[in-house]
Every structure is written in C-alpha cells, then in structure tokens.
Point group: C2
Chain length 370, copies 2
C-alpha cells in the first residue's frame, strides 16, 4: 500500500510493462508502446534504449509505413538471440538441467541420477550440469540472465529456505548459499538464482511459455511424480497459500479408509497413483488413472481453471494413466451435462519442472511488484 517513491522500482516496473506489451504484441513501435502503456514518448524512448543496450530488446530490420504523419516507425521485438535462462530440477532420484531461450525454446538439456541426496552434494552435482549448459550458451553467443531451481518440497517465499522436502529428507535447508558456492566453484557467472517448489515451477513454465502468451489463467499443473502435487497460477501469479503449502493435492482424500499413504493418512491421491504405488508388481494403472481422473474433476470444480496441465514422470512411464484419467473426467462431465474442462499433457514433458524453474526467472523479472 505504501508508495515509496523509489525511482529504481518505478523504472523496473515500467521496463516490465514494456516487455510484457512486446511479448503480447511483438513488433510494436515506440509510439505504440507509449500509447499502450500510458507512458510519455520520451520515457519510452529512454527505457527502450536501455532495454536494447541490456540485450532484452532489438529493433527489427523492417520498418512499417508508420503513423498518420507518414513517418516510418521501427518495430521492436524481444531479443531471443542474446539472453537465455537455465533451469534445474533437483528431483528425488534425478537432476535435470535445461537451457531455455526467453521465448521458451529448450536449447539444451541433461539428466543424471541424483548421486547423493545431501543438500551440498546435490548442489555440487547440479552446478556441474549448469556449467556444461552454460558452456553451450557461450558457444551460441548467449548471455545467461538467471538460474531457477525447483525442488520437491515447500519453499519459504520470503527466506528462500526449503522448509520440508520429505522425499529428500530435507528440513529447513538454506539452499541458496549452497547453490551460489557450488555454481561459483563450477565457474558459472554470478546471476540471480530463484528457488521454487517443482510443481509451482512447472506451472509457471506452462504459464509463461504458453504459445498464446501468458494468458491461461487460472492454470493448474498436476505433477505426477514420486509425490503428487499441483502448481497453481491465478491472478497472473503463483498461488502458494499461507505457508507456501498450497497445492498438496496428493494428500486430498479420495476414499475414506482407503489404502495407507506415506504421509500417515488413508485414501490419499498419492496412495492410488504416486510413483511408489505404480511401481508395485500388482499395480493397476487403469484404476490409478480413474483416481487421477477423480482428482482432476475435483480440481476442475474447485478452481474453474482455464486449463489443467498434467505432467511428471508417472505420465511419461504410464501413458495409459492420463488417457484413463481424461476418459474419467469426460464421464463426470457427461453425467453433469457439462462440457469437459480443458486438459492437456505438459508441453515440456519430464522437463516441465526444470524449464519452469527457468521461467521463474523471467516471471520475476516481468512482475517486480509481486
């Protein structure tokens, strides 16, 4: 509520406004940017010059016939040829790294088994992969703008602490300093580092790198992995709840007195289609798909989202899981005589959390007020 009068913040906000306008409408001229943003032409000219100098924007070669005065105007576009992002997922069993363009194109990716679950060792392993990805960016002539890291646990929004990542055995781990040290040791240049829950990251990736621009709001990303969780984007930002624990949908009860879950409760979604359950010799992926369908139907009526995106390792291993879930949701919709909700598989497949972690860097840059 407080207007600080901070000129630097104001400049960051105005820069982000221009970048978001150009993402939604590539090719706008300075004059059109001034019209659309409400900023004066001289302010726009100044900010555009800075953004070009910083490598965010470039001037397109083509000039357009221009405004009513007959003067030609120069179309501006986001410069996807100068900057890039790197995203990391420290998962329960693997580490994934993806280098991503500002437009969401995956430039390179790598996956390795996680050798040691201790936070320090995980950071060192990730840093080596990041250094390799960075070397490839350098070969392409791209500068690294930031690194995002996703972890399978709750991350405190303020402190950056990993509060609790049960499947890694982490509690209150201050990961950012460990990451910074490991990245520096691996020779990665010092850039902003963002830390986020893996499902939240995956949701942001689908949101920011949507082919239509960031417009699918609300968006719910259901991550079916070792654990089952959701990332929720609404009102143009992540929704994480009071203590950063929102989206723990793997522990919604789908059957009273159902099978025992690792959390101690009975009948949780994760007990029906978490990776451990699906790995059992007597696992029934079709039944698991039915319960995933129930979960998706429940998210549908609770959030009335524009889209539900489903991803994670279980979907990659068991394609019938999502197929059966989609059939189940359609049956529920038919029974209620309603059109079914928009459901789709994750655009980035198993890389969704890593790409999403990279997207988080962009998201943060474009929304300095969040």
């Amino acid at each position: 509520m407080k207007a600080t009068g901070d000129q630097q913040l104001l400049k960051r906000i105005n820069r982000s406004v221009l970048l978001r306008l150009l993402r939604a409408q590539p090719g706008l001229s300075r004059a059109r940017l001034a019209q659309e943003s409400g900023l004066t032409k001289s302010t726009v000219s100044l900010l555009v010059r800075e953004l070009i100098d910083d490598g965010w924007l470039s001037e397109s070669d083509a000039t357009t016939p221009g405004d009513g005065m007959g003067r030609p105007s120069t179309p501006l576009v986001i410069n996807v040829g100068m900057r890039a992002l790197i995203g990391v997922e420290i998962a329960v069993q693997v580490v994934r790294v993806a280098a991503v363009s500002l437009g969401g194109e995956v430039l390179s990716s790598a996956i390795e088994p996680l050798l040691d679950k201790s936070p320090g060792a995980a950071c060192r392993q990730a840093a080596v992969l990041v250094a390799q990805a960075h070397a490839q960016l350098v070969l392409r002539g791209l500068a690294l703008s930031g690194i995002g890291v996703g972890v399978p646990g709750a991350v405190d929004d303020q402190s950056g602490l990993v509060r609790f990542a049960p499947n890694l055995g982490w509690r209150n781990v201050d990961l950012l300093p460990l990451l910074a040290t490991s990245l520096a040791a691996a020779g990665v240049p010092q850039v902003p580092i963002q830390l986020q829950n893996e499902a939240d990251a995956a949701a942001l990736g689908e949101f920011e790198f949507s082919p239509e621009g960031a417009g699918e709001d609300p968006l719910v990303f259901v991550n079916c992995d070792y654990g089952v969780g959701a990332g929720i984007v609404l009102n143009d930002r992540l929704f994480i709840g009071a203590q950063g624990m929102a989206g723990e949908i793997g522990h919604t009860i789908l059957q009273v007195d159902g099978p025992r879950c690792s959390c101690g409760r009975r009948g949780c979604a994760e007990a029906f289609f978490g990776e451990r359950t699906l790995a059992q010799p007597d696992a029934d992926p079709l039944r698991a798909g039915t319960f995933l369908g129930v979960l998706l139907q429940n998210l549908w009526v609770t959030f009335n989202p524009r889209v539900i995106v489903v991803g994670g390792n279980s979907c990659a291993i068991h394609p019938e899981l999502l197929e059966e879930a989609m059939r189940t949701v359609e049956k529920f919709a038919d029974a209620a005589a309603m059109p079914p909700p928009l459901l789709r598989a994750a655009r980035y497949g198993a890389l969704a959390p890593a790409v999403g972690a990279a997207a988080f860097v962009l998201h943060d840059y474009l929304r300095p007020m969040n």
Copy 2:
C-alpha cells in the same frame, strides 16, 4: 497495465488507501497517514476533508501529544455513526435481509419464506424487506451507502447476469434492473447495488468484518445449505475462476461410484451432506459430518488457507455435523503428524451470506482497482 491518467480513479484509489490504513490502525493523524501512504500532506488533508464531508471519517475528540514539534494531532477514525449497508440473501427457501454498520455490526435483520421463486417476485419481496431495514436506519440517523445481494448461483462478474441458479430454476437472469425497479417502487433511495454468489458473499463478510481487520488471507468459506459451495478469498480479493464457477466444492467426488447427486454425478460431497440428503428420514448426520471433514481436509491441503470458516443452514440445524467434521479433520492431521488447520463456525451464522453481501459493497469501495 494501461495508465489512463484518470484523475477520478486516482482519487478513489487514494481515498481507499486512507480508509484501509485507518481501518487497520484507527486513530492515525493526517501526518501519520501521509507517512504511511506516501502521499503528500496537502493531498492527505484534502482527501481527509472530503472523506469527513462524505461521512466516511470523523475526527476523534481526543488529541494526542503530537509529533516531535510538539504540535497536537487529531486522531481520525472511520465514522461508524453515519453510514450503513444493507445485505440481502435470496436463498432457495427464504429471503434474509441485514442492515450492517461499516464495522460489521448487525443493526437489524429479517427473514421470510421465499413466496415465489420467479426473479421479479423475489426482487419485490426482497425490496419490501430492504425498505423496512432502511426505515430503521433512518430512525438511527444513518445514511445508506449501498446494497449487496447474494444468490445461490453463478454470477457473471462483468455483466452482473445470474448465469445459473439451478435450485431457483434461474438461467441468465438480468437481476440488477429488476432489483433497481423493485427497490425504487418500495421507496428505497438510489444507491449502488452489488450482486454476488451467496458463498462468495459469505466469504467476503468473514474477511472484511474480521475482528483483526481484513487479514485472514487465504480464507475459504464453506456454505452447507441446500447446495454446498465455497467462497474463496485470496490475494486480498475473491477468487471466482475463469467463468465465475470456482468453489463448486459440493461437486467434488468423495467416493467413486458413491450415491447419486442431483447434478447427475455419483459420490459428490452434496450427495453426502446437502440439505436434501440430511432431510431424508434415514439420514445419518455423523456419517455426513465425516464426509464434511474429508472435504475440509481436502480444502486444507489444496489451499493452505489461514482459516476455513463453515456456515450455512445445515450447520444451524445439525450442530453435530460440524462437530464431527472437526473431529475428522483432527484425526487426519494427527495421522499426518501435522497441526490441524484453523477451522471455525461462521461468525454471522445463518446471516453470513446476507451480511457478506453488505460487506461486498464495502469491499468494492475499498478496492477500486479490482
């Protein structure tokens, strides 16, 4: 994103900033308001003068020792003695009306059976009750600032149309003109009228009239009535989803192939503890309470809310329903070795949607940017 330069909007926003500061910290002086808001002292003085003239603020008699300069300063407070709001709930079987102070005190209330479900007749019946409530406000010397109306259906945020209220048999009803005509015919002065879904309204009432000020965010209000629905407040505003249908939690599936619901699906929450089910001769309120507990546990892990508030007619008729639900949630929390979520009964009981509809008028005034 567009800065319109609209001076009127800017003034409304600045007025709302001052009102919200004074609600959170009653007794602030003009000088403190300027510090806290970042507005200049002359702007604050001008706006405070207007707000006093319009009856929103008053100067407290007591003066405080003042700032370091030794000058006394005049504490300002929200004027609860001049303005009031009226809220209406058109429910499936009854009409409820409440006159409410700006501080959330219920000044008068009335309830009548709904005589005729047609939109025109319902508006006429509600208007007569509003006129009676208004007459009582006049006797107290209070001016009416606005009227809020809650209905058991989905309301389109933009057009104000009631898209669908199945239990009233309404579809695409343009209620606001009908209300305006009926209210004018009943002699109620012309003031802003707000229309909202009943559970959404109830959620806003609990949010805006919280004894601690509007700070319980996220807040989920579970309305157990003829239908079962939720109102969700997060990021300081209502969350209604892509088509205004979020919170239809009565149709989350709690048992695969469970009892048939009125919506056509099987195993919905409403089939276990909707009012129709509870009214059956063989109804089992304890079992119903267990399923309400499952629903609350599921909302808890999905939203990680600061508080879940439970209300509605079923809770008033069957006190054991909420008691058993709370026990069930505690059992789930114990099983997961987690502290249970904060759950409480609606502060305004069966009046929650009517009081909440009144709160909507205040909410809208205090958040002109939403």
